[in-house]
């Protein structure tokens, strides 16, 4: 079955089953491994991508249900220049880093939609799991990104 997906500005014709989660189409069929697999049940957010800018847990969307342009971590910016990425570097947010692709995509969507998110808004939007516990730096970096954007 050929499914067409627009990923990071490029149309891909993929030979995948209609029920393939977008996550695996991205990782295995398109070959972009920046988006991570953590749980497969939308509980952890490691697989977060943007679909027309909306943060989406790609493990729980079938490719046949995808409407819109997909952006993965690789294309958030060409050179880590997105304010979130810059703040992440400034504050050395990642430890093991495995959750951070999803964390960054969630954070980028948050500040795209909310000019100056309050701590409560950050709490509500940033439900990604980080096993290393980088949460306090994630919060600080979101504030920093807003400050310097």
């Amino acid at each position: 079955m050929s499914i067409s997906l627009n990923v990071n500005g490029i149309d891909h014709a993929l030979d995948v089953d209609a029920d393939t989660p977008l996550l695996w189409a991205i990782r295995d069929a398109v070959g972009l491994t920046g988006t991570k697999f953590g749980c497969g049940v939308a509980a952890c957010g490691a697989c977060t991508v943007h679909i027309d800018g909306v943060p989406t847990r790609s493990c729980s969307v079938a490719v046949s249900d995808v409407q819109g342009k997909i952006t993965t971590i690789e294309a958030l910016s060409p050179d880590a220049s997105h304010p979130i990425q810059k703040a992440w570097i400034e504050l050395d947010v990642p430890q093991c880093g495995y959750c951070q692709s999803g964390m960054i995509m969630a954070a980028a969507a948050l500040i795209a939609g909310t000019q100056q998110p309050t701590n409560a808004e950050i709490d509500a939007a940033m439900t990604n799991i980080c096993r290393c516990g980088t949460y306090s730096r994630v919060r600080a970096a979101i504030h920093e990104a807003v400050r310097s954007a």
């Binding site: 295995d28 991570k36 509980a43 990604n128 516990g133 949460y135």
Partner: protein, 720 residues
């Protein structure tokens, strides 16, 4: 410039240089720019033609920041500017054998600690070898030369040569001995909060974890695991599975059946179509309830091996004015690293190649053996680890990958889902501890007895270390002395002249393994929960009680500083504090956890204050990050962590029933690092042990209920 014969004889006759100097090292054209060809100095170091210094980092980077701090040790002595440094993960090699374990591995917060001197010596020896090469060029004794910013400089003439010019020649020398390492006041890189070298790759999706490995012709394999830990494959009907699009092969192993396919999703669909009959084995009806019943019976009977016996603790208890008698439980815990378990292998008749997020590079010889190859025939590539926590020390995934690759005749990535990861773990051992203190009329502790019961990790992992039926990872932190196998164990408290610790090793079908802070994860909980109970029972302030019992001044200093910093005893209105301190892995960490009650059974963790004496700090920023990380691991386990098993099957499977703390749950952190030049302590694990007892202490003050078993969720407490 051709070195003059007369200078050569001068050097020779002066006898100042080592016998390993290679004479006749000539470079063309005195006034032409010398060609910086770059080159490899040894397994650890390479200088590129454009002046970058590539430093090998053989320890497993799982978030603890050693990717950077190991490099700091080497770069400091090598005298190279940090912005010229590139860190790389080398092929596993005997060059990288761990100084303590003698095989390449990352465990027990012993990377920086064990490589503290050897890594600096790598940099220092390289520096001296580069000076020797420059000495050849200039016809001078190398001892008079200086190294600075990636160049060897002759202070007499101001000539300088970049390492790139010298490295090829330097690599021919034998590493010199007796080199002086820099003193702390000379450090410019060690002790500085250098930005992590792996952060850029971790914010743009380019960092390669085990799950990301890609090879030509690689297939992906997903397992159907036996339902019980002792289960074996009886029969396989793979007809339907093989019909699934993209499925290439079905490979039965002993205790699992792998579906091998073009990608993860196809393999997963193949697994759903498998029909397998299992022989469940003796674990088929086992349960965690049965395990704990055995542990409780053991401590009640007081049976087991005596690990420590000073004075006569039983007499002290019998004659005591008051006895504090507390039985505590610690549950089984899964690791739940963010990156699910995986390994990639390519088997050929001549060689096995492994790519894995592993903590046990030096054990890959066993993996080669599993596929009938000589231990020397394995090549191991270490990727970044999406969390390790001790789970990636096990080589089950590499063995599965090797076996499946051999059967499939192709490179294979074995990739488990979260459910497999949760249900086929090597769990932090569940344990029971009966702790007793003999207290005199004036409130002095005069004797102590601990009866511990749990399964032994080392009975499986390193049986030689379980002589006398004692596993030091079951008793460290509570017993003082050494295991019969000779491994030192320590307790931070002196309980007078009478102390006895008894350990009943009760092994069960439930596999147990190394979890962040190992012994101290449950024994820190037991010890500190007990001290808090003793304080309450005898009406003494817990800080004062600890100060009267802690053995060392450093421990007391941490506690005093913590009490001061956290304003112990002065919690704001509506807030409640709890305290714990634990000395493990060479560092002393104290924590005050502050909570507020938001409902009958709901709390919010508002603040964690921590003082950590780590002896010496290589990168203060990564240390603070790791203390926070340890706290989050400890609090998460205290709040939610529990693996239960019924009729041979683990009940938990994914994050909805093995919950994790989220950003909204995170307290405010106030962390202070003490590094007064004492021997360097570990950082990756010591932040975890105090968290649970400090939280439970705070909860006791808030609710009047002092928990003796974890997690809080099992008692109905939740964050909210």
């Amino acid at each position: 410039m051709i070195v003059q014969l007369s200078r050569r004889s001068l050097l020779k006759s002066a006898g100042a240089s080592t016998a390993s100097l290679v004479l006749g090292f000539a470079l063309p054209g005195a006034d032409k720019a010398r060609a910086a060809t770059g080159g490899r100095l040894n397994a650890w170091l390479e200088v590129t033609a454009d002046g970058k210094v590539r430093i090998a980092q053989p320890q497993s980077e799982m978030g603890q920041g050693i990717w950077t701090s190991m490099g700091q040790l080497i770069a400091e002595e090598l005298e190279v500017d940090w912005d010229k440094v590139e860190i790389f993960s080398p092929l596993a090699a005997p060059d990288f054998a761990h100084p303590f374990y003698k095989f390449q591995t990352t465990a027990e917060s012993l990377s920086i600690r064990s490589f503290w001197e050897p890594a600096r010596m790598v940099g220092a020896q390289a520096r001296e070898m580069l000076k020797m090469a420059a000495g050849e060029v200039w016809g001078v004794y190398p001892e008079g030369l200086r190294a600075k910013s990636g160049h060897i400089v002759n202070p007499m003439t101001s000539q300088k040569l970049p390492y790139g010019v010298l490295v090829a020649q330097a690599s021919k020398y034998k590493a010199p001995k007796g080199i002086r390492l820099k003193l702390p006041h000379e450090w410019t890189i060690i002790g500085r909060p250098i930005k992590r070298a792996d952060t850029p790759a971790k914010v743009n999706g380019t960092a390669v974890y085990g799950i990301d490995v890609k090879l030509d012709g690689m297939l992906t394999a997903v397992p159907l695991l036996a339902p019980s830990f002792t289960g074996k494959v009886k029969s396989v009907d793979d007809g339907e599975a093989l019909k699934v699009k993209g499925v290439r092969k079905v490979v039965p192993l002993d205790d699992a059946v792998y579906v091998v396919a073009d990608g993860y999703w196809q393999a997963r669909k193949g697994v759903a179509a498998l029909k397998v009959e299992w022989d469940l084995g003796e674990g088929g009806d086992f349960s965690t309830d049965k395990a704990f019943a055995t542990f409780h019976a053991a401590v009640k009977e007081g049976r087991g091996a005596t690990v420590e016996s000073a004075g006569d603790a039983d007499a002290a208890l019998a004659g005591a004015a008051k006895i504090v008698d507390v039985t505590l439980e610690a549950p089984y815990l899964a690791h739940a690293t963010m990156e699910p378990m995986n390994a990639t292998a390519h088997y050929t008749q001549d060689k096995l190649t492994i790519w894995a997020p592993t903590q046990a590079q030096g054990l890959m010889g066993f993996v080669a053996g599993a596929v009938g190859l000589d231990a020397a025939k394995v090549e191991c590539h270490t990727t970044f680890l999406g969390g390790g926590l001790g789970r990636r020390f096990e080589i089950d995934l590499p063995i599965h990958a090797a076996l499946v690759s051999k059967a499939a005749g192709a490179p294979v990535k074995v990739l488990w889902g979260r459910e497999e990861d949760t249900r086929r773990d090597f769990y932090r051992p569940g344990a029971v501890a009966r702790m007793r203190a003999a207290v005199s009329a004036d409130g002095t502790v005069t004797g102590f007895r601990a009866d511990l019961a749990a399964s032994s990790i080392l009975a499986r992992a390193v049986p030689d270390l379980t002589k006398g039926a004692v596993d030091h990872t079951n008793v460290d932190g509570i017993a003082d002395g050494a295991s019969p196998a000779g491994v030192p164990v320590h307790r931070q408290y002196a309980f007078g002249d009478h102390a006895k610790v008894v350990f009943a090793m009760e092994n069960t079908p439930i596999p147990v393994g190394f979890w962040r802070s190992v012994a101290h994860s449950q024994n820190g909980w037991f010890m500190e929960a007990f001290i808090n109970e003793v304080a309450e029972a005898i009406g003494k302030d817990t800080v004062e009680l600890r100060l009267s019992l802690l053995k060392t001044e450093r421990q007391k200093t941490v506690l005093r500083r913590l009490a001061e910093k956290a304003k112990w005893g002065e919690a704001p209105e509506g807030r409640y504090q709890g305290i714990a301190i634990h000395d493990s892995f060479g560092s002393i960490v104290g924590q005050v956890v502050e909570i507020e009650k938001t409902g009958d059974k709901t709390i919010r963790i508002t603040k964690v204050t921590s003082v950590a004496d780590v002896g010496t700090a290589v990168n203060p920023d990564t240390i603070i990050a790791q203390i926070e990380s340890g706290v989050i691991t400890g609090l998460t386990a205290a709040l939610y962590g529990q693996i239960t098993m019924t009729e041979g099957m683990v009940n938990q499977g994914n994050f909805y029933d093995y919950e994790m703390m989220k950003l909204a749950d995170t307290p405010e952190f106030d962390i202070e690092i003490i590094a007064n030049g004492d021997p360097i302590g570990g950082v990756g694990e010591p932040g975890t042990p105090p968290a649970a007892p400090a939280l439970v202490d705070a909860l006791a003050r808030a609710t009047g209920e002092r928990l003796r078993t974890l997690p809080l969720a099992a008692h109905g407490y939740r964050l909210g």
